[in-house]
């Protein structure tokens, strides 16, 4: 895949309305020590200056390894955690400034689907009650046809038998429970759904069913997704654009063809090269970049570029100057690397 081709890739959502705009989002978790009087001795920089836009009908994938801050990012976007700095705008309105009733109403518009279908549903509530809960909390969004009928409709939409409305979560399998969680997320007709590892707890054969469902729902209801996952293949499949996260920062952001076809950040390249491809004939063709060591402690990240301690391209400037997430010469996506260059050897495409 050539650079010219990458440039020719047009973002199909370039003209779509911006639904969610995140700018310089920061969340540091203080580390406190001391027995009686707790002193702040440091901070885990879980999310440190993340910016992106999400457009209507689009899926933005966020990939990264454990501890990179992607789950904290999801919580910030839901306002389940309050950010230390930065802004979140929903259709131009300042989401972070909202309080009380205004905030409660706004919550209808952004919903979340969780990773673990076993813990995300209250085991003591029937499926009908679980999916009806959004309507109980938002009486102004009362469905015309009555709550029970609407719940049955939602069950049908996510591919479950509406007659099972009185069953309890433990009577369903993991994949079916995930569908229940999706139905709950859909209940209030949200504009944005944040999917936090929605298929990583599911078996391969069931995973495909749930991903197809998410795609169908997106098409039907014009939803925008933020799809957080550690599985690069899954993100590749579902996303229109992809952001790669490392130690609280975005390393690279671009169309999925750019990220997967011609990754420019060394971290993205290493990440892609490590993904095993389900084709034994590719075994010896892949050029695998093996990263040395483990990610640094997020409470004490390296100066300059956070990836430099594991990077084979690192030079002096990487320690001195933090690279910005910008479009750099020779590449079309945005990469936070002083030495960003498309590396087609580790492209995920077959050559």
């Amino acid at each position: 895949m050539s650079q010219a081709m990458a440039e020719a890739q047009r973002d199909p959502f370039a003209d779509a309305e911006v639904v969610l705009e995140v700018e310089d989002l920061v969340k540091h978790f203080p580390i406190r020590e001391g027995i009686v009087i707790k002193r702040r001795t440091g901070a885990v920089q879980a999310v440190d200056g993340v910016s992106f836009q999400l457009r209507k009908g689009e899926t933005l994938g966020i990939v990264g390894e454990s501890g990179c801050g992607k789950s904290t990012l999801a919580k910030l976007l839901m306002r389940l955690e309050e950010p230390d700095a930065g802004s979140i705008r929903f259709r131009g309105e300042d989401f972070l400034a909202m309080r009380g009733e205004e905030l409660r109403r706004m919550r209808r518009k952004i919903q979340i689907i969780f990773q673990d279908p076993y813990t995300s549903l209250n085991p003591r509530m029937s499926v009908g009650d679980i999916i009806a809960e959004p309507f109980k909390l938002h009486p102004e969004a009362q469905p015309k046809q009555g709550i029970r009928n609407r719940v049955k409709e939602l069950l049908d939409v996510v591919g479950l038998n509406p007659d099972h409305i009185n069953r309890y979560p433990h009577q369903f399998s993991g994949g079916q429970r995930q569908r229940i969680g999706i139905a709950r997320g859909l209940a209030l007709n949200p504009d944005v759904i944040i999917c936090d590892e929605p298929v990583s707890a599911l078996d391969v054969s069931v995973q495909a069913q749930v991903m197809n469902l998410l795609e169908d729902l997106q098409e039907e209801f014009g939803l925008s997704y933020i799809f957080i996952a550690h599985d690069l293949s899954v993100v590749r499949h579902i996303s229109d654009r992809v952001a790669v996260m490392y130690l609280g920062k975005l390393a690279e952001l671009g169309l999925d063809e750019e990220i997967y076809g011609a990754p420019a950040h060394p971290y993205t390249q290493a990440l892609l090269s490590a993904v095993p491809v389900p084709d034994p004939t590719m075994r010896h063709d892949r050029q695998e970049i093996v990263l040395q060591g483990d990610p640094p402690n997020p409470a004490n990240p390296p100066s300059g570029c956070r990836f430099r301690t594991r990077c084979w391209k690192a030079t002096e400037i990487c320690a001195e100057k933090e690279p910005e997430l910008i479009v750099r010469p020779g590449i079309t996506q945005r990469a936070a690397c002083h030495h960003a260059a498309q590396n087609e050897d580790v492209s995920a495409f077959e050559s």
Binding site: H230, L232, V275, P276
Partner: protein, 353 residues
Amino acid sequence: MTTTTHPAGTEQEGYDASAPLLEVDDLHVEFRTKAGVARAVNGLNFTLNAGETLAILGESGSGKSVTAQTIMGILDMPPGHIAGGEIRYRGKNLFDMPEEQRRRLRGVNISMIFQDALSALNPVLPVGFQIAEMFRVHRGFKRKQAREEAVKLMQKVGIPAAEKRVGDYPHQFSGGMRQRIMIAMAIALDPDVLIADEPTTALDVTVQAQVMRLLKELQTENNMGLILITHDLGVVADVADKIAVMYAGRVMEAADVFEIYAKPGHPYTKGLLESLPRIDAEGERLNAIPGLPPALTNIPPGCPFSPRCPYSTELCRTDRPELLPVAEGHVSACHYREEIYSGELKPREEAQA
């Protein structure tokens, strides 16, 4: 580390050097639960030779982990119950052995690594001590000598600054490093069979690649038979020699790894491969397998996959297909294995349309 011959007494205890390393023959394992009898493994067969990597691929509930636990002899009994069959190590049936001999096999000739290294290691003992203990208990090494061996082993599995870290506790290591420590313990006594139960599932991709590479190197070096239990078709394609695909406690298909990915002979394998999102191709809609695996307390008669199978016929719902050859070294438990293998058969809906 000095590679020794197999522990003393190998011949006396009735092992046959010419027999395959490990053979599982018509194994049946059940769990007796309140909800009924869960048939976790129903007539499982496979053979593992020295230096070979056999991947047992299956989804949750397919019986793959129960198989591993049964081979290791660490199955919870009750509720677990071995309802039939044999597992032979070098020609000798494990189930006929006196408990003492079985215990000597465990950890020495056959060892295992688990998915979750944090819970498999003792949190209150230094890792060096835990590795050294293997030598002290099984080889009768003195404390100092055992510790030296532990350091060597830690170096061998790629733990940086092993001499300094030998006194550290499990929680002081990262996930990948802990997995390396567990591997060190598993290979400490030069086992001939290593069972790895989802060894990299809990790890990040970059670490997963490192750990798989280490396992593969150690296997080649020690000529071990490796049983890799996993649900990850990508990892399997990368390291396995042979694959057995399990479903509802049975092997559905077994073959050489190149063969099975190129020409699957069972609709389930075919379905799995097609349902996978690929990193190297922009997929259209995924070809999901509809429905769910059967509850183990209520496995349908006939082919257990038939309720989800696009090719199933009346025959599939009534007659259970045997695991029969479809090509050289390639077996499949499907009535239509020839047609699936050659790609002639169309899914029923399409065929009718």
